[in-house]
């Protein structure tokens, strides 16, 4: 009996493997259709909260595949939920599709903007959203075919790049009944792990002074730009006196209209990041003091608009291990000779040390340990609310810096699309693993509880904050 049981189990496993292999083959068959969709979104290159065409493309396809769409989630026109199935477990698969300002680029290995100054998919979110959608559809087909109970929910989450779409979706209850949230991210390697990310607070500091003719009556003016420059200097002085893992960076989004007028308005856009949210709260408070000092010393006024605030990622041991396993099953990325030539040409423009070598895209990296990535993401907020994890595939040539014209080029090329297909497979496999093995869900929940250790998530965005739908617009 014991032997019989073992044989049955083995047969089951072999059968399951066959069934999954069939699913992967089916996904392969859709490479062209979904490759085109990702290219279309790459060409749209819509920035955060403006992803109307991109989200519509995904919604149409999900609807055509039998998902029920809930639109305008959290009052955001480009946020949506697409649901198929019913009952437990509820697996949330998240997709992003926003572009980055100023990174327009052809799918060429030399700097060459499609439209100079326009946005571009330097973070590969055109691949991100499509792979996640394809995974959702593929898992649904599998479950349908095998009559598996459970719910697949694709979450269309806009404005990851500084807009915090997921935070407003959490508030709107979009994750309330989900058991697990999974997703991936484009990268220069195939890897899952336990790495965290930096908590992040961002805000715009708006200085208002008194205009005056800069030559005829400069003493009658109070320069808003002076206020901002003083704030900047104060922040530079602050750098020495915060814990070294802190990151503070800013740009000037408005620095005067015409040189012959003392600027009555100036605006700085600040980010502060830290592995630890309470320490970050303190740093942000000190940056606000810098802003007040800027205004105080120049007889101008300042107000701060909190643009976004995300947490550090809470890793999940169970989900990381599942991703790792499925990454190994799916395997790495193989380049054609043309892709190899593109990669070699592109790599000439990297002036970075300690990067993975060309060729590494063919392997799966070892499971990443605890540690700290340099980035931030609103996936982190989800990770403090329910068990959540993501992994990367090599959509970018190894060594490609993030948020660069080079990553934009890859995201529009066949190299990017190959990585996207791998990601879709890993997500689909993991979803099926979760649906078919409730113990994995239990283990993931246990890891979540252990790691958060009683800490209660509370976003730093005010309770009445509205999504900053125009945060990418030029200031007036």
């Amino acid at each position: 009996m014991k032997l019989t049981g073992t044989i049955l189990l083995l047969c089951g496993l072999l059968l399951a493997q066959d069934e999954r292999a069939a699913m992967l083959a089916k996904i392969d068959g859709k490479a062209e259709v979904y490759g085109k969709m990702s290219r279309q979104i790459w060409e749209y290159s819509e920035v955060g909260y403006k992803e109307a065409k991109s989200s519509n493309l995904l919604k149409s396809d999900l609807r055509a595949n039998g998902f029920e769409i809930r639109d305008n989630v959290a009052g955001i026109p480009t946020a949506f939920m697409a649901t198929w199935g019913s009952g437990k477990p509820v697996i949330a698969i998240m997709g992003e599709y926003d572009a980055l300002p100023g990174l327009s680029q052809h799918d060429a290995p030399q700097r060459n903007p499609r439209v100079a100054g326009d946005p571009g998919h330097g973070c590969g979110h055109n691949l991100f959203g499509v792979a996640a959608e394809l995974a959702a559809i593929s898992a649904k087909e599998y479950m349908e075919q095998h009559k598996l109970p459970g719910t697949i929910r694709f979450l269309g989450t806009p404005a990851e790049e500084g807009g915090g779409g997921k935070i407003y979706m959490i508030r709107a209850g979009a994750f309330r009944d989900a058991d697990i949230a999974i997703t991936w991210h484009p990268g220069d390697r195939n890897q899952a792990g336990l790495q965290s990310s930096l908590a992040n607070i961002s805000g715009k500091f708006r200085f208002r002074g008194l205009a005056a003719h800069a030559a005829a009556a400069p003493d009658a003016g109070r320069s808003a730009l002076d206020g901002l420059l003083l704030m900047n200097h104060c922040t530079e002085l602050l750098r020495e006196h915060v814990p070294q893992e802190t990151r503070i960076h800013y740009i000037i989004t408005a620095g005067g209209d015409a040189p012959n007028v003392v600027p009555a308005f100036a605006e700085g856009f600040y980010y502060a990041r830290q592995p630890n949210m309470p320490i970050l709260d303190n740093v942000w408070g000190r940056i606000q003091k810098c802003a007040e000092a800027g205004a105080q010393g120049t007889e101008t006024k300042v107000e701060m608009e909190l643009i976004n605030s995300v947490y550090n990622i809470l890793p999940n041991d169970t989900l990381a291990a599942m991703f790792e396993r499925n990454l190994r099953r799916v395997g790495g990325i193989k380049y054609t000779p043309e892709e190899q030539a593109f990669a070699q040409e592109l790599a000439k423009s990297f002036n970075r040390e300690k990067v993975l070598p060309l060729g590494s895209q063919e392997q799966v990296q070892p499971l990443g340990g605890e540690g700290l990535g340099g980035g931030s993401t609103d996936v982190a907020d989800v990770s403090w609310v329910l068990p959540t994890a993501q992994f990367t595939t090599a959509t970018f040539v190894p060594g490609t810096p993030g948020h660069s014209w080079q990553s934009t080029a890859c995201a529009g090329s066949s190299i990017g699309r190959k990585g996207m297909m791998a990601a879709a497979k890993v997500l689909a496999l993991t979803t099926i693993d979760l649906v078919t093995d409730p113990k994995q869900i239990e283990a993931a929940k246990a890891s979540f509880e252990k790691r958060r250790a009683g800490f209660t998530y509370r976003s730093r965005l005010p309770a009445d904050a509205k999504p900053p739908l125009t945060y990418r617009d030029k200031p007036q």
Copy 2:
């Protein structure tokens, strides 16, 4: 015989007075038509070198009035010469029609932009060009009627506000055969005088660094914004160590694209001004050192594009006296009760001391003495090339600051149009005076020679500089 001569002369003078009164009456009869034209240009609000519609409007009307048009002067699409008549003297009348960025405003006495962030006629150049054109046409009609020899040339001079249109027109020979150049400027008073202006050099400093992820690899980035901020600080330190009449002012026209990327590009737009061009040369050289220091210290690169350079005005005693006389003949501006109410309401928004009181628009101010205005103009370059002068009429409510929403409001209102009509009359009268009295031209030339004292005009713009046709565009 002597007596007879005197009688004849007197008769001639009286006759001339009558004839000129007729000309003024004729001008009055055109108030509505040219008022509308000025309002149309006010609504166009086209910035420097982009004044296509505004210049076309003026050209059409000049052509319709028998002027011969030479287009595209100095390779500038919106620069033109309109000539009528032949032979000596050649009287050049200059007209401007460019608007200022960010000053959009309704013709209302409270701040209320027509389109927030759009340009507006805060310097009243919509009135400027139309009054000059009307004067040219009126003088031509007078000369035609009285069969007077000589040439009237209207010069359509674009981009006075920082673009230096007249400098390129000088180079292109637009003033070569002219004897005298006259014009006016909108103001808050009716006045001619000997005041000079500030020589001005302006340029854009473009810093280029190395982009990097601002959180993951800030040490791999070289911030172009840092370079610009350091240059700014250096310039602030410089202020103490230049002659006190110097003015230096700047804005930041590009300060980074997104906070999470170390800015690879930043741009500052600088003006420096001085009553004396050789001293200004020295100051500008030191600002360039500040730029080099900014780049040097931050491991970035900087290049400077010279945008504009104008001289200080060389006053002309003869022309100032002629304007003064004709201003007194034409007289001040009378407000209707509605205009009076508008003026009172508007004046509430002025927080300035030592301004002319409401009501002063009805008078002509005494001839202004030597002295220094706070502004700069490319009329100054013309003034070092041939005898040149300008005067102001009260197109703005007394006390209105220059380059403000308040002056934009006046420039679009009936108050502005009344000042414009007065200016057209003074310009027309002065033109006829010059055409009919060659001694005035001789005297003006003598004053010119005495004041320039052998100094040879040479623009600080490089010999091969092209007009900066896109200087108002956002940087890429």
Copy 3:
């Protein structure tokens, strides 16, 4: 009778001229003694409020010459009043004797400090005090000899260089019964005039933060130096937005003890100057805001100690004319061949334009008109309290910059002493003119009243301010 009167008057005048010539001859006879005294004080080189030996030297000699000494005026050990005579008029003659930090120099025409870093008489106050004293003694001898009624009061006024000794002496009543106050100042020319000076407010800004190991725990520190640097930057930004005649300058008197400790203390010493005291009040208030901003932004504390505040000089038409007349009587300075060689060598180190040429020391310059000198002096405060004036003689080689090693060298040389003797003569002559001609005193008082136009003098030093006796000490 009328003729007789005229003859008598003429005889009187001639007699007076003879008597005054005798006085001048007597002064010449004392050149060696008083020359040595000035050299002695030059060698002492005692800074403000520390002039113990210098003031004792003057007091001894005044006492020996029959003056009654009142010591420790206004609680200042080095301030004193020396009085001779009784009744009206009371003529106050002011003398200064403080040196400047860091200007130690041999009486050589090349840079060569006597003790590197030590103070030096770069303002020639070693000559200043001695000439004034010699004038007081000479006038006293003249009055004694001619039995003239009246009081001569020498005021030993310490710490003119930023310490404001005269202000505390005014408060202590030292000028209460005086009719006129006169004095002179070393210079590079012989001249009286109507020039004013800059009102001046100075203060020390002391920042206090939190020390920490700069490498092990920089985030635990709050840098007082950061606070001061931010204040400085704020002040640099302020320069653009104050009236152009304003002067703001500062040094850093404490900037940290050791680089490996986050500085818990830092101190800046600020001066602000303006031709107009109420405008200066406003500027000073804005500098204080800069200080508050510095503290606010860096989480440090700041306190300001007002060190000094002097007014702009109120010129006096009558006294200026009297000085002018007596300067012409005394005549300029003649150099020996050795002095000429010294002057030529020294002049090689001047890199200044528009200075008086060598040789001009032999002439008396025309009476100076209204205008503004670049310096400040506490003589100005006296000038708002009673009719006051000063003039210069050429104690320095023409073209010598003020407060320089070059002026220190002159002040210790025979050139300086010759200028000093001329000054003593002019002061003595003017004193006798005032004592013998009450109408001059009336005229001086009338000029004083007309110019101050009802303005009530009030020092910006707090009513309870104590003299800053240690303002030259290094901060702890």
Copy 4:
């Protein structure tokens, strides 16, 4: 035989233990004499390279104890070598005795300077030198008594606090024939370990400009202070763009003499630190660019004097283990009730988190692992030349910050002296261990070779650099 051998070995060990116990008892008997010596040096409080009296005290005592003194090592008056014995092994014991500027303090638990502004032993080097000397003498007595071969060399190493005395002593060959170098350091705990330290480069940046009267002719001046302020700002901007473990800190050692003179001289004293010397080289190069930018932008000149440069410590596994063992033998520090009261009072002034609690001074902490301390020391340079190690004992109340008035107070108190005696014992024991067990020396050498991995030590000080004997003097 085997048994006999074991018995003999055990007897030997027991005997050795007895003999060492006798040595420790002997050391205890000298507590008063050497306590007084440490107090005397604490009262001298001589800063780096000025430790004449302190070094003489140590030399006298070493001479009196039979050591042969070599004076003036490396041309440094306060550096010396004291040698006893002959032949191998040669054990170097290093002692320091320099004080820190500005840390004068009574041995009281409240802030109370002995002489405000004076130096103080905030790093406890008064204890450091004496304990090391006492260990050398004690080891020598032990060796003499037991007729052990070998050489004990005490190295009197001045100016550890930023002066780099040991580097010049290395160059002078002071470590050439030594096998091992050991020492200790005062601390707030009893611990040995493998911790490293930060490599450090320090230099003075001297700006020279052009003096001018700051009110009369500020445009004629070129401010050296401006140059330094711009360099500082540049450095602040640099902080974001260096690896996060980098430390940069500076003070202003000369910031102008008097506010009314444009500063012709200014000086900044900079430190930069990094765990890695080649990265530090790069950072230091960039700081020099900041200096050049400061000069470039302000038309001043700058020159850098390299003051010091030390390496990061190369830990030694063998020596760390030996210290650990002997620390456990000697044990912790017991307070009397008075000392306990002092400690409690002192602890009130600590505003630090995560410090060891009161009472922990009684224990020995576990062996410290690899890691990075925040400090720097020239012991590190020795550690790249031969096997070297140090440990700490609790001379300071647990939680006492380094370089503070609190540590100065402890260093002058009985608490400090108790820690010193413990250190002397551990050093003496370890010396005897090394002398009697050559295998330990071999092991230490093996650890040294393994860790340095072929890297060749080369000090960043120029080959011809002279010891900066006046680096603590005020700039002229």
